[in-house]
Amino acid sequence: MDITLFLQQFLNGLSIGSIYAIFALGYTLVYSILGIVNLAHGAIFTLGAYFTYALMGGNFGFNGLLANAALPIKLPFAIALILASILAGLVGVVMERVAFQPLRRQGSDPLLTVVSSLGVGVVIVNLIQYLVGAESYTYPANTYGNLPPAINFGTPENPIPIRSVQVVIFAVSVVIVAILTYFINRTKYGKAMQAIAEDPTTASLLGINSDRFIILTFFISSFLAGLAGTLVASSVSIAGPYFGIAFGLRGLAVIVLGGLGSIPGAVLGGLVIGLVEAFVPSDFSGYKDAVAFGILFIMLLVRPQGLLGRRFIQKI
C-alpha cells in the first residue's frame, strides 16, 4: 500500500471511527445507568437523519403515506442538525417511558428490557417506511455551504484528497466528545449520573432523583444517536429506513471492545473499529462487519471486560 492511500485510509478510519464513538457513547450511557443495551439505538440514529432531512425542507417521495409532503420551513443544515438531534432525544425519552419504565417498575429481567428495545427499534423502522417509503434521501447540494468537495492533505504533485464531509464529521465528533466528557466529569448533573451508575440505591439515599436522571440519560443517548445519523447521512445519504441497522450492530462491537459502560472505552473502541474497517482491503469490503465482530469475539475471550472496562466483581 503506498503512503498516499495509507494516509487517506488512516484519516478516513478516524472519521468513521469518531462517528462510531459518538454513536456508541449513547449505548454506553444507557448501559452504565440501567445495565441494559438499548437495541433501538440504531433506529433512533436513522430517525435523526430523517428529522434533519425534513427540517431542511426536504420533499418526501411518493411511496409512503406522506407522499410529496414537505415542511414549509427550510432551515440551514447546522440548525436542522441540532433541532433534529433534540427531537431524536425526545423520542428517546418517550421510548423510555413506554418501553423501559414499565418493565423496570415490575422488576423484570434485563433481558426482557433488551427484547422490548429491539421491538421499539423494529416499530420505528417500519413506521418510517410506512410514512415516507423506502427511497433514499440526500440533504440539499449546498449542505456544507461553500466548502470544496475535497481537501488536499498532500502536495499539489502528490495529492492526498479527503472528502470535506469526513473532516467536518471528525471535527464535530471531537467537539461532542469533549463537551460530553466535561458534562459527565465536571458538572453536578454529570456527577449525579455517575453516582446512579455506581449504585442507584445509595444515590437515591443521597437525595438524587434517579428517575429524572434516567430520562436525562435517554435524552442524551438518543440525541447522540440522532446526531450521528445526520452526520453519516450527510456523507453517504439516507439509504432508506434500514440504514441504521448496520450501525446499531457495529455500535455493539464498539462498546464491548472498549469496555461496557466506559466512556473513554467507547471512544477508543470506536476509533479502533473505524481504523480496522478502513484497512480492510476494498475487495473484501463485505467482510467489514465480520472483522468488527471477529475482534469483538476475540476480545470477549481474551479480556471480557473490554479495553478500558472494569472487571466484574461478583459480590456475595
Partner: protein, 416 residues
C-alpha cells in the same frame, strides 16, 4: 447480574456475527428449499382460479429492504396495468387481480413469496422477483410447481434457462449494456483508459460487468483496473482513489442505486473529471437523490424510453405522469409490460378454451405456452419471446442524467 448481561451481549453479538457471515455467502442454504411445496401444489390443482371472480396474478417484488426502491418502482407499473386493463374489460369480461407478496431483498424472502403465491394465493402466474440473484433461487420453485414466471427486472445471463416456465421482459444485459459504451465514445472519441467498478455480492452486477469488460476490449480500449465493492457499502474512497491514480478517461459502474450513487458522488468529490457510465442497477430516478448535482452527465443504457411513440406507451406514460408528476422509470415500464403479457396471453387462451372451465394446473401450463407463442405491442415496443423465454426486443436507448442548476432535481435525457 452483570455477568448475565455480559453473557446476553455475547450471545447477541454472536448471532449478529453469524447473520453477517451468512449474508456475505449468498444464502446457499436457502436454495435447497423444501420440496413439500411441489406436492402441495399438485394436490391443490383441481380447484378453479376464480374463487372471487377475478383472475389472480402474483406480484413478487421487494417492498422492504435495500432493494425496496426498485421493487416499489416495479409495483407501481403493475398496479397501473391492473387498473388500465380491467377498465378495458379485463380477460374478456373477467377482471384480473394482482396479489402481492413482499420478497424483501434476499433469496429466502423471494422463495417465501413464491411459495405463498403458488400454494396459498393460487395465482395463475407470477411477475418477479426483483433481483436476478433472487430469481436464481426462487424461479426453480415455480418451475417445479409448473407456474409461469415473467421476470420484469432480471437481466443477468441464464435467467430464462432456469426452466420452461421462466420468461422475462427485461432484455439481457449483454444486449443493452454495450450501447452506453458506444455513446460514451461518441461523446469523447479520445477515451483510452477505462476503470470498471462492480458490486461483487450481486449476481446481476457480476454478469453485467463481464459484458462491460468484454465491450471495453472489443472497442480496443485499455482496461486499467477492476475495483470491487458490495451493494451494502457506503464508503468507496479506497476504490475511487485506486482508480483515479491510474488516470482513467472512462469509469463504468455496475451496482445498485444507493451504492452506485454514492460511488459516483465520491469519485467526483475526489476529483475524477471523465465520463461515467452506470449499469442497469443505477437506472432509476432514485439514484438522483443520492449523488444530486454530481450525478450530472452519467450515461445509462435503457431498455425503455418514456418517449417511445407507441400507442400503449402514450397511455401508460400519461397515467403515470398524472399520478406521480414525473417520467416513469424503466422498471415501471417493464413490470407494466409483464402484466400486459399475462393479460393478452390470458385473453388469447380464453378465446380458445374458456379459462373458467380449466383446472388450475392445466390453466398454468396452457398459459405458459400461450405466453411464449404470442406477440405483444407494449410500452417497450413490439416484443416476443424466444423458445426458451428470453425477450425479443427491437429498440434500445441511451440516456444521460441532466441535473437542474440547484442540483436537487434532474432527469434522464434520451440521447439516442
Amino acid at each position: 447480574m452483570n455477568n448475565a448481561i455480559a453473557q446476553t451481549i455475547a450471545l447477541l453479538s454472536t448471532c449478529a456475527l453469524l447473520l453477517t457471515g451468512c449474508g456475505g455467502g449468498g444464502g446457499g442454504s436457502v436454495a435447497n428449499s423444501p420440496d413439500s411445496t411441489t406436492n402441495n401444489t399438485t394436490t391443490n390443482t383441481a380447484q378453479t382460479t376464480t374463487t372471487s371472480g377475478a383472475i389472480p396474478i402474483g406480484i413478487a417484488l421487494a417492498q422492504t429492504s435495500n432493494v425496496a426502491l426498485l421493487g416499489q418502482e416495479g409495483f407501481v407499473g403493475a398496479r397501473i396495468a391492473e387498473k388500465y386493463f380491467n377498465s378495458k374489460g379485463g380477460i374478456n369480461g373477467t377482471p384480473i387481480k394482482l396479489v402481492s407478496q413482499d420478497t424483501s431483498g434476499d433469496e429466502a424472502g423471494a422463495i417465501n413469496a413464491f411459495q405463498t403465491l403458488i400454494n396459498k394465493d393460487k395465482v395463475v402466474g407470477i411477475v418477479g422477483p426483483t433481483l436476478s440473484q433472487q430469481a436464481f433461487s426462487a424461479d426453480p420453485i415455480a418451475e417445479r410447481a409448473k407456474v409461469p414466471v415473467i421476470g420484469a427486472s432480471n437481466t443477468a445471463k441464464g435467467i430464462p434457462e432456469i426452466g420452461d416456465y421462466v420468461a422475462r421482459v427485461s432484455a439481457p444485459v449483454s444486449i443493452v449494456a454495450p450501447n452506453s459504451v458506444k455513446a460514451a465514445l461518441k461523446q469523447n472519441p479520445q477515451i483510452k483508459k477505462v476503470a470498471v467498478f462492480y458490486a461483487q455480492n450481486d449476481a446481476f452486477n457480476k454478469s453485467e460487468t463481464e459484458i462491460f469488460q468484454q465491450t471495453v476490449k472489443d472497442q480496443g480500449l485499455e482496461l486499467v483496473t477492476v475495483q470491487k465493492f458490495q451493494t451494502t457499502d457506503t464508503d468507496f474512497q479506497a476504490q475511487a482513489t485506486n482508480a483515479i491514480n491510474l488516470k482513467p478517461d472512462l469509469v463504468i459502474i455496475s451496482g445498485l442505486a444507493a451504492d452506485g450513487g454514492n460511488l459516483v458522488r465520491q469519485l467526483r468529490e475526489l476529483g475524477y473529471k471523465g465520463i461515467i457510465i452506470g449499469g442497469n442497477g443505477l437506472n432509476t430516478p432514485n439514484v438522483l437523490s443520492v449523488c444530486k448535482a454530481l450525478c450530472d452527465g452519467v450515461l445509462i443504457a435503457q431498455a425503455y424510453s418514456p418517449e417511445y411513440p407507441g400507442e400503449i406507451n402514450k397511455v401508460f406514460r400519461q397515467i403515470y405522469i398524472e399520478q406521480y408528476k414525473k417520467e416513469p422509470a424503466q422498471f415501471t415500464g417493464q413490470s407494466f409490460t409483464a402484466v400486459q403479457v399475462y393479460v393478452e396471453a390470458l385473453r388469447a387462451l380464453d378465446k380458445k378454451t374458456k379459462i373458467s372451465t380449466l383446472p388450475l394446473d392445466k390453466l398454468r401450463t396452457e398459459l405458459n405456452k400461450q405466453i411464449l407463442a404470442g406477440k405483444y405491442d407494449t410500452p417497450l415496443g413490439e416484443i416476443a419471446f424466444t423458445p426458451v423465454g428470453d425477450v425479443i426486443q427491437k429498440e434500445f436507448y441511451v440516456a444521460q442524467i441532466k441535473m437542474d442548476k440547484d442540483g436537487n432535481t434532474g432527469k434522464f435525457v434520451f440521447i439516442k
